[in-house]
């Protein structure tokens, strides 16, 4: 580790700590192009930095090809009411909720945790938004309230996990179950519909010819990337994910890091909840975001982030979410009987995961014998 990336001058961590070494060993290769500033160029992450992402990019390519085969007009685009209209746009637009979730989920999983509550947080934030806007609250305040609800849920998870050290899967499972109940209490068990063009704009609006949810995704992606890759936050998250105790000994505030990733996940889920609620112009506490936590975890895993924590890639998780949605849209376009939906989906996911397998992927045959070597 002579070329340790820890040697960057702005890094606040201890250079010599074993935890930081471990983290840098499993550092995300995505960091390389983003921080390709003079002085950091020497850092090696394999001969071709993008090579580890070939399964994802190839996977997306294959799924899009399949989409085009079942539906020749798949790539056709036209302008409709000042916004691009076509199946590709649908993929980006319909995939927005899962993509938003995967942004938060990636960071949570990178710390070795998991957030099962995001689907329920979607329901809560949607319920809050729909109820408040019907109560006559101005739209900006409604949005702030809905986002605060998500942050509060994330903080609750973070508290249980970072301070009380409850296992993430259990801690977030409680909110996954209770959260939907909370949302049902807010909506009083009915679908709360609203008529408010400004709030609907979150889903119906268009910026630069793209649907607003797509722009929201790009914006949140940019913010997440700046947070984790332009600061040392990403490294710290990786360090905590590799070995919490060692990272604490190295001076990283693991407790705050873990707390913050759950808050971020809650916020991302709240944004997704706003998108879904604005989309159907109503809050459906029973169904909004149902099972989306699993799609988000799948997107993160397809993106090559290990559930064990440590290495992560936000961009690849987004790509993973798009793969899932491109598949869903393709199935809908194909005209297959709906009984096949789940089978087709799981086969495609399985193929991508098998290609990624360190044993079959052939990207690094030595890993078979050398364990964790890079």
């Amino acid at each position: 580790m002579t070329n340790s990336p820890m040697a960057r001058p702005s890094s606040r961590q201890s250079v010599s700590s074993p935890a930081a070494e471990g983290a840098s060993m499993r550092m995300s290769p995505e960091a390389a192009p983003l921080r390709a500033a003079p002085g950091f160029l020497k850092r090696g992450s394999g001969p071709v930095p993008g090579r580890r992402f070939l399964p994802q990019i190839g996977g997306l390519g294959l799924v899009l090809l399949a989409d085009w085969l079942v539906s020749p007009q798949f790539f056709a685009l036209r302008l409709q009411d000042g916004r691009l209209f076509g199946s590709v746009i649908d993929v980006l637009n319909r995939g927005a909720p899962v993509t938003l979730l995967s942004l938060g989920m990636t960071l949570v999983i990178a710390t070795g945790g998991i957030d099962l509550s995001v689907g329920a947080v979607i329901a809560i934030s949607g319920a809050v938004a729909a109820s408040l806007v019907n109560g006559g609250l101005p739209v900006p305040l409604t949005i702030i309230a809905a986002l605060s609800a998500g942050i509060l849920c994330g903080a609750w998870n973070g508290l249980l996990i970072s301070v009380l050290r409850i296992q993430p899967i259990v801690a977030t499972l409680t909110l996954m179950v209770a959260g939907r109940g909370i949302a049902q209490l807010i909506t009083e068990g009915v679908i709360v519909t609203f008529v408010n063009p400004s709030l609907s704009e979150i889903a119906d609006g268009s910026w630069f010819y793209l649907p607003a949810p797509v722009m929201l995704v790009l914006g949140m992606l940019a913010v997440t990337l700046v947070l984790v890759r332009a600061t040392a936050l990403g490294l710290m998250i990786e360090a905590v994910g590799v070995n919490r105790r060692a990272s604490e000994l190295a001076g990283i505030g693991a407790r705050s890091i873990i707390f913050l990733v759950y808050v971020w996940s809650g916020l991302c889920a709240a944004v997704a909840g706003l998108v879904l609620t604005a989309d159907i112009k109503g809050a459906d506490a029973n169904n909004a975001g149902l099972w989306l936590e699993l799609d988000a975890i799948l997107a993160v895993v397809i993106g090559g982030t290990s559930l064990l924590g440590g290495r992560f890639s936000v961009v690849m998780a987004v790509l993973g979410a798009w793969i899932i949605q491109a598949m869903n849209t393709g199935i809908l376009l194909s005209g297959f009987p709906p009984e096949f939906n789940l089978i087709v989906k799981s086969v495609v996911v399985l193929v991508i995961l098998v290609v990624q397998s360190p044993v079959l992927g052939g990207l690094n045959p030595r890993s078979l014998f050398c364990g964790r070597g890079r």
């Binding site: 539906s71 409709q80 649908d90 159907i280 459906d284 709906p338």
Partner: protein, 319 residues
């Protein structure tokens, strides 16, 4: 709504006037309700209360929160309290033999609401009050066969794959389509009975069918999917209700709003009044031992935009 309230108040007044002597003779019915997972379910409970009040019956409702074990517990406690009859809206079809036998031994008649069950001995329950989902699909199909002049390409938004309601509503609709050569189902997919999925599926149908130009009608297995589909049609720059005819099933308040706005054309009502016919059958049974048929079919009605506004007003507080 006002009329129902009025009748309710009258019934209350009647009970109050006749005094406590009658109160002892009042029929007591225990009702194990599934929960309140949908607006329709909540309406079913509300209507059951209103219908009981109308007839001077005391109704004890137990909310099972989607769990069969809670329902079995509730039925046992109704038996222990010695109620005159038990209504069950069963959450699942199996596992009812033992507890129903207990009710039979206690000579308490059991009436099932909204859903049937699988038991070997049908004598374990008096009757089941539920709609005919195949017929609902058929009514929707018949309306479309009349409304669509000339050849008509239909897209279908199915309910959750494998749900019995979805299977039956598809079957009834397909029967009419197969009898009418002008009609053709060109696309069919599951929208999981939700607005969000209905919208997503309809979006892709529109893309797959030449921007929606070749679609003449949308048939949705429930109103919520239809409402999602209507939004997708609008987003594609088409007029729901005109460019693409919209027919769906359930009769929830929001579809009446859509019909009043000219965005939906017809909805087949699944009445939330399951308890009313059950009370009537029970009263006849108690009075002179009239055994009702094993399946009391609730009335299936098709609603169209002309009455939509009034129907919306009538329903909006019920759901």
């Amino acid at each position: 709504m006002m009329r129902c309230k009025f009748i309710g108040i009258m019934a209350l007044a009647l009970v109050a006037a006749t005094g406590s002597a009658r109160a002892a003779d009042r029929l007591v019915v225990g009702f194990s309700q599934i929960g309140s997972e949908s607006g329709w379910r909540a309406a079913e409970t509300k209507v059951a209360k209103m219908e009981a009040e109308k007839r001077g019956i005391e109704l004890k409702i137990s909310d099972a929160q989607q769990k069969e074990e809670n329902q079995i517990k509730a039925v046992r406690s109704f038996i222990a309290q010695g109620v005159d009859a038990i209504f069950i809206a069963p959450v699942v079809a199996t596992g009812w033999e033992a507890v129903l036998k207990e009710a039979k031994d206690a000579k308490i008649p059991v009436i099932l609401l909204d859903r049937g069950i699988d038991v070997k001995d049908e004598g374990l329950y008096l009757t089941v009050v539920r709609s005919d989902a195949v017929y609902e699909g058929q009514v929707a199909g018949e309306w479309l066969a009349k409304a669509a002049t000339g050849a008509c390409n239909i897209v279908e938004l199915q309910g959750t794959v494998g749900a019995s309601v979805a299977i039956d509503r598809k079957k009834g609709f397909e029967k009419i389509v197969s009898e009418t050569p002008r009609l053709k189902i060109v696309r069919t997919q599951s929208g999981d009975f939700t607005r969000a999925k209905g919208k997503e599926v309809m979006e892709s149908f529109i893309k797959a069918e030449n921007g929606g130009k070749t679609i003449c009608a949308m048939y949705a297995h429930n109103d919520d999917m239809a409402i999602g589909g209507i939004q997708a049609i609008k987003a594609a720059g088409l007029k729901p209700g005109k460019d693409i005819l919209v027919v769906s099933i359930d009769g929830v308040p929001d579809i009446f709003k859509a019909m009043a706005d000219g965005e939906a054309n017809a909805s087949v009502e699944l009445t939330p009044d399951m308890a009313g016919p059950a009370f009537d059958a029970l009263l006849a049974f108690k009075a002179n031992g009239t055994v009702p048929p094993k399946w009391i079919k609730t009335t299936t009605r098709l609603y169209q935009p002309d009455t939509a506004k009034a129907e919306y007003e009538r329903r909006k507080d019920l759901y």
